[in-house]
Symmetry: C2
Subunit: 362 residues, 2 copies
Amino acid sequence: MANIMRTLTVNLGARSYPIHLGEALLPRAGDLIKQVGCGEKVGIVTNPKVAELYLATVEASLRRSGFHVATVVLPEGEAHKNLDSLATIYDRLIAERFDRSSCIMALGGGVIGDMAGFAAATFLRGIPYVQVPTTLLAQVDSSVGGKTGVNHREGKNLIGVFYQPRLVIIDVDALSTLPTRELVAGLAEVIKYGVIADPKLFGLLEERLDRVLALDRELLVEVIAASCAIKATVVEQDEREQDYRSVLNFGHTVGHALEALTGYTELLHGEAVAIGMVQAATISARQGLCDEKSLSRISGLIEKAGLPTKVPSNVGLKELVWGMEVDKKSIGGKIKFVLCRGIGATEFQRFSAAEIVAQLAA
Amino acid sequence: MANIMRTLTVNLGARSYPIHLGEALLPRAGDLIKQVGCGEKVGIVTNPKVAELYLATVEASLRRSGFHVATVVLPEGEAHKNLDSLATIYDRLIAERFDRSSCIMALGGGVIGDMAGFAAATFLRGIPYVQVPTTLLAQVDSSVGGKTGVNHREGKNLIGVFYQPRLVIIDVDALSTLPTRELVAGLAEVIKYGVIADPKLFGLLEERLDRVLALDRELLVEVIAASCAIKATVVEQDEREQDYRSVLNFGHTVGHALEALTGYTELLHGEAVAIGMVQAATISARQGLCDEKSLSRISGLIEKAGLPTKVPSNVGLKELVWGMEVDKKSIGGKIKFVLCRGIGATEFQRFSAAEIVAQLAA
């Protein structure tokens, strides 16, 4: 039986790009990149764990396609997503004499993708880059849409730019080596797409969660394709997050604050978002936007997936709201919240710190 | 007699912006910024020397217009145009709780403008910024066109992005406190505009150089307006320097290499460019593109302005060519040179390192 491969397109005029999604794509990375026309040098940015699993395959593929390869292995984790790691990337690109036609490949999860993308955006005022996400979270979210950046000790992604990749290569085979906790954390974002825009995807997850967790390839391609299609549609409408794109932040306002307050170590991003979605759905219900049945389906699916639903007991409500205020979605003191209207639709509302404390405490 | 004020526009669709040019504009900065619609916070980025001269005036003007002002004073000079200074800016913006509607003002020369612009481009994935250039070099060149960035120890501006300001405010009064050496260095870029695109401007400089150096306000406004108009036209045609915009790099390929090789201390940017223009015009003559009379008018005007024309004796030819190769205009080993066809027109040619050594040594 032939390997599955599907191609979606993110339509952004001159900045449009394909997403190739399927099985056994890592060994074809060189060919796929060749098709979008990069220069002769490719700089792979990755971390030790991913390097051990996939670097040899990807390097060999690139070399077979005639590329000169330079690899930068950065320490793993959100704590290293900072200006120092960026400096390491820049140093290497300069030492290897990368020019404007050279290309960067992000091989790894969201941390690697965000940093490699930001390095590409800012090296020589912008060189091409390719996203090769190896975690479910990165495959359905961060690899598509051109958000790049690094953290500041006061908050996540405070330093960054919008800069679209030339190509995204999503190989579902990479998920077979992903720890279950990370796979489940990635599912939080898939559930999010169902809540904000796709009742059918939500229903499919409710029905076939066990098969997704068992890494059924066909099903994985289906839910990842549905997720990427929603992400692409939103990004096409509002590339630079002037307004509508922040619909994707459903669950993220509380989620980001939780991550910051727990030092980016206790909770995975998807886990923090899972808690944030339950909070956002709860506020939606209190505002009369979300019926009780939908609220219970949302928290039910999140729980069934093995994700947390409650704010950790060591995080106080006031701290949490302070954490949200420093987040970049706060404008003029009021915090912009994405609420859900049942399953499949959303609405924006702005709340002050006091209003949020009152609603979450209620 | 009323103060002179002229307004040019850089036409870049949704990213278009005005350049206000004239006398006594610093005390009106608040009003002018108010007109382009920023949020309530303005972060001024400046250096100690400029702060001593103009900060009080600008801060007072902003406060009169109702802005909350936060000022970041960075150490002066090209050596501080790096990731560390950027971190200082980010820290302050976060401490002052800047949001996406807040604005950054670059008050100073090119170093300040490039760093403040890059900080604006990358803070929260882009907030508005205003250029208020106080040197002639920044007024005619770096403040217009959206090039932002910082240096790497291996070369200038290797890290950066294209990001247009919302507004440029050019007050010729600021030139009265500029050291003569810096004024003259700025003139190198004005001469460049004459050579590449404007024989009339070149002739005006030949005729009235003494009045420009005596800071005749009306004449300054005329030559700065002519310079900015050329820069705007070029940027409008090729905002991201895919090709044609590099016409502005006439004299800069050698110039940048000279600056790097002399550690950014010996030569001012304009002085390095002056030497580079003489080299580029010489190569142009050797290629049969530039007649001897034009070559002698070009080197004559540069010399008459008090600018250097010769490569410093401590810089070897081979070093110089190596310095050019690391520069970002090098693609695939060949260096892209801007040559002049007499005065007022240009042509691109690519040379290998060996070809340049042969031509410069001839």
